[in-house]
Amino acid sequence: MRRGWWHILATALYLFLYAPMVVVVVYSFNAAHDGFIWRGFSTAWYRTLFADPAVSLAVRNTVALAVLSTAVSTCLGTMLAVGLTRYWFPGKRLVAWLIYVPVVIPDIVMAVALFLFYSMVSRWLGLLRLGLGTMTIAHITFQIPFVTIVVRARLAGLDPALEEAAHDLGATPWQTFWRVTFPLALPGVLAGAMLAVTVSLDDFIISFFSAGAGNLTVPILIYSQVKRGVTPEINALSALIVAASIAGTIGVTCLQRARRAKDPEPQG
């Protein structure tokens, strides 16, 4: 009986989390122009969506931004995690603390700080004009700590005896890193990269401030459309994003399962 209530409550909460996603998918097939009222099934909005150059530009920008910034931040964040767990330098504890600042300050603060910084640099040095480049820089900056947190947790859980063994068997530090440490840390690196993609796709405010005029991303496009009034096209676009997120998550889960089956090493 008590278990039953628990299940019902949990199911209700899942429904609550998924209600907006379901609505978006259902309404993307709505024939009505004004969005809110159901007027029959139609795929017209998907056709207008694919024909809209602004949408394809926004999608291309969003994907390019996520891929590029994740690649850079995963490298930098992983290196930092290794450096912080393995080697000592003066002021390390302070740095280990400061590196988490982007995680804990409100988005809007980082957004205006970068906006002011870009404005000053472009006015005084003629560099960093607002655009895709400044957006990529901003994303890398807030992604690094997320990658570092995850990779560091993974490295901290590793058995030091494995690296010691490699060293005792005559491996150079370089060989030890690439043949022992990195393969062991890889699940953490991939999880960090996943988290980095997630925060990049989910960000609106920081992108909005560092975008400059005319540099659309999907969140910026949706915000401007929603502010102006409902466009059913946005439903179709959102439905595709929902589908892509679910497909992406299933893909990642399958990958993890395949790797775990191949290498039955306990996960940290």
Binding site: P20, M79, Y87, I108, A138, I144, D202, F209, G248
Partner: protein, 324 residues
């Protein structure tokens, strides 16, 4: 203190202190000097530190400086140095004391606190539910909590506009049942704002709380029950103290961004309420009063950093342990 000397001394002694030094020196089977540590740190940690310094610390210091300058023409800023922006934010503007801006801070903190509370109430059943599942389904249930994060917050907020709008089935049902005034939708309203906020922030509380619940020592819970504690007492004395680390981390992850949030209140609340977030935004996009915007941003940053610092001190934890 030179570590090379220390290491030569410690071979003779072998007391506990030297053991610690040995452990620090012979890292993972390698014997490293202080110089080795330094140049390897520079190569590995250096790039990310340099990046973060240039694109985060410098900009943050810059807003601190700009907040002390005066408003320029067409945005921008100019000398002289003044505390006017801070005084104005505290309510002491040109026209005498005014509660307008202090109320904005209060409203944002209330929004953050109420969202956190609602998320905590929803996260407990979810975290315990997931933790009680067989291990294969656990993974799926957790993934299901994360998937909504991949759909941008903007899309979810927009969907709630449809779901709670005057034409929606839910609104009409409540009006027909006499629970809601006729003609009005559930959106825009304060309730709609909180629905959107909880939907957006709930995963951030469920994940750390679940991590704590997973580690829960159920023997303590059984012991409490055996000693005659009722459900509430068991929760209060046997469960709650054990999940505090995850709960506190989750609250922090929700409270700070939720207090700075303004897009959801803007889109679901009907665009009438001013939060700290959109007050800052206005200063840069409409009013073009950069020093004032910088001052508010600086206060918001200082408040959130202070919150983390107090929490870290109380928990006796490092910043990364706070977050994980």
């Amino acid at each position: 203190m030179d570590e090379g000397e220390e290491s030569s001394k410690m071979h003779g002694k072998g007391d506990l202190r030297s053991e610690a030094h040995l452990a620090r020196h012979i890292r993972h089977g390698e014997r490293l000097t202080r110089a080795d540590h330094l140049w390897r740190s520079a190569l590995l940690s250096g790039p990310a530190m340099l990046w973060t310094t240039l694109f985060l610390l410098v900009p943050l210091v810059a807003i601190g400086v700009i907040s002390l300058l005066s408003k320029g023409i067409y945005g921008w800023f100019s000398p002289p140095f003044t505390l006017y922006s801070y005084l104005r934010f505290l309510g002491f503007g040109l026209l005498g004391f005014d509660l307008l801006y202090p109320m904005v801070i209060v409203r944002s903190i209330v929004l953050g606190a109420a969202t956190t509370l609602l998320c905590v109430l929803a996260a407990f059943p979810l975290a315990f539910f997931i933790s009680g599942l067989p291990s294969r389904r656990k993974h799926l249930a957790l993934t299901l909590v994360v998937i909504p994060l991949w759909t941008n917050m903007m899309i979810r907020t927009y969907a709630w506009q449809i779901l709670l709008g005057p034409q929606s089935g839910l609104s009409r049902l409540l009006v027909a049942a006499g629970l809601w005034p006729a003609g009005a939708g559930l959106y825009p309203s304060t309730m709609a704002v909180y629905v959107g906020m909880v939907c957006d922030f709930l995963p951030f509380l469920v994940l750390p709380l679940y991590a704590s619940v997973e580690k829960l020592d159920w023997i303590q819970v059984e012991a409490a029950r055996d000693l005659g504690a009722d459900a509430l007492q068991t929760f209060r004395h046997a469960i709650l103290p054990q999940v505090v680390p995850g709960l506190a981390a989750g609250c922090l992850l929700v409270f700070i961004p939720a207090s700075g949030q303004f897009v959801i209140p803007d889109l679901l609340g009907g665009g009438k309420t001013v939060m700290v977030g959109n007050l800052i935004q206005q200063q840069f996009l409409q009013s073009r009063d950069w020093p004032f915007g910088a001052a508010i941003a600086f206060v918001a940053m200082a408040l959130s950093m202070a919150g983390i610092w107090v929490y870290a001190r109380a928990a006796g934890a490092r910043a990364d342990q706070v977050i994980l």
